[in-house]
Subunit: 300 residues, 2 copies
């Protein structure tokens, strides 16, 4: 029987875990009903569509993290300000529903005043990592569309910084003039390593080195795999140059997509850094469980 639902509701996806009171996963489901496809009235039907048959006759708690809590989402769950622990369910926003079987709570994101920054969803992955590694002090890097670097100390997110690296890669590889060169999904590890090094040593040249990918395609028939690896390496190298205060001399844990974490891990490894890679989905689930258990403690 489903005791509660753990939900990760992002821009492009909806993921639901049917949970028991003891924290066991009974079933997991997902689809593409992300925030980008929904207006405010669409959230409850979308949730029932994916998971309605998992509900019993009583009230089922539903705990949500991610973009569903943004101003354009289901209901705004206002940011908590750093330094702070990853917010638990005591900071969550209750959402009224038509279906009386649902008791929906949305976890807040976190914000930083200076430099201005926000995250929504990643803080729950950090919570999951800290639940599994309660004594961790160091840096968590969450590669993605908007890569986050977070300083962790004494169980708190002390500061963080977001880089648009992943979105730049997507725009440049799919929509810019470089799309003629960056075709396919291939890779060249040697070219990537060189490009990371070039990106780190002269990040100002980024916009020029990007165009060189195009020029080398025209003049030297640069291979598509090399073009893709170079684009990624230049962008990640530039990011590493700016994120140096985060990672230098630190223990770094990576949470994110496997291929992307491998790329970041290779780039950081080349700087001589010990890097720990984790399972991103598991961190999300563990974060939601930690928040739910928090509720249990608070209401016991």
């Amino acid at each position: 029987m489903t005791d509660w639902l753990a939900v990760d509701w992002g821009t492009s996806h909806l993921r639901v875990w049917a949970m028991s009171h003891t924290g066991t996963v009974q079933e997991r489901r997902s689809n593409n009903a992300g925030m980008a496809t929904l207006d405010q009235d669409g959230y409850e039907p979308a949730l029932l569509d994916l998971a309605g048959d998992l509900l019993g006759t009583g009230i089922t708690p539903v705990l949500i993290c991610g973009m569903a809590g943004s101003r354009q989402g289901w209901a705004e769950a206002k940011y908590v300000t750093v330094p702070c622990s990853p917010p638990g369910i005591d900071r969550a926003t209750h959402v009224a529903t038509d279906d009386p079987r649902l008791s929906v709570q949305i976890l807040p994101g976190i914000k930083q005043t200076s430099p201005a920054d926000v995250m929504r969803g990643e803080e729950t992955q950090v919570a999951g990592f800290l639940a599994l590694n309660p004594k961790f002090d160091g840096v968590i890097c969450l590669p993605g569309t908007h890569t986050k670097w977070a300083h962790i100390s004494a169980g708190e997110i002390v500061s963080f910084r977001t880089f648009m690296t992943g979105e730049l890669f997507a725009l440049l590889s799919q929509q810019s003039v470089l799309r003629h060169n960056v075709t396919g999904q291939g890779w060249d590890a040697g070219v990537f390593a060189d490009a990371v090094s070039n990106g780190m040593s002269n990040p100002a040249e980024l916009a020029a080195r990007l165009f060189s990918i195009r020029a080398e395609g025209l003049l030297n028939d640069l291979h598509a795999d090399q073009a893709r690896a170079r684009l990624s390496g230049l962008l990640i190298g530039s990011e590493l140059a700016a994120a140096r205060p985060y990672w230098l001399g630190q223990h770094v844990a990576l949470i994110g997509d496997d291929a992307l974490c491998k790329a970041y891990g290779d780039a950081l490894g080349a700087q001589g850094l010990p890097v720990e890679r984790t399972d991103a989905d598991r961190m999300t689930l563990e974060g939601l469980k930690a928040a739910y258990l928090g509720l249990k403690e608070n209401t016991a």
Copy 2:
């Protein structure tokens, strides 16, 4: 009577000037029949559609610069390698046409081996500037989708470098998460100046400062005009940091869109640089005229 046609055929536009032998413009026309809208068989009909009624009964020379000479254009006009003078009609590629009244020649672009780089169209604007300023020694900056910086000495393009700054601005302002902040066409000169300074002093932080525009929109209601000026300033500032070997201690001439040249002029002016702004269309026409007159000399 039209003695020849001067044609600027770019990715997004077709511009035709009906010329007399003495270099007087008799008529100018333009439309959106750029390379992006045409396959190889479409060029001759597109030219006749816009300018067919300008032709006499004899043969009319047609001199073309721009992307029509690329591999995906009407016919490939192979690049000339720097250092070189802007290529004249003696380096042009003749294109066979069905209509016997046309004698079409396409001017080549120029290329650089290391760092790999290419331009196609801008070299004709450089030719026009040098026709009007034959003793110019210095740097020409051509802001645009792919901004070019060119070292000019003794009438030759010695070296050049392309920055994807304009394309990054278009992608980020229209397609990225920043489109929610960068709305409209407004401007804030003070914010632009600060952002140029920030971009120059720490270009590595670009991907993070870009996301800060989003965060400040969410947290501090950053105004759309300020967001747009900051995005532009960060990108141009980063470019200026990398292009410093080009402009430092130089006389800089700007050729391009008025608003964009004003932005570059303001940014360079803040560095204490004397900047000269020009009329981009006039430079293109003067470059085509210089190439046509070159033909006259060569065939006299």
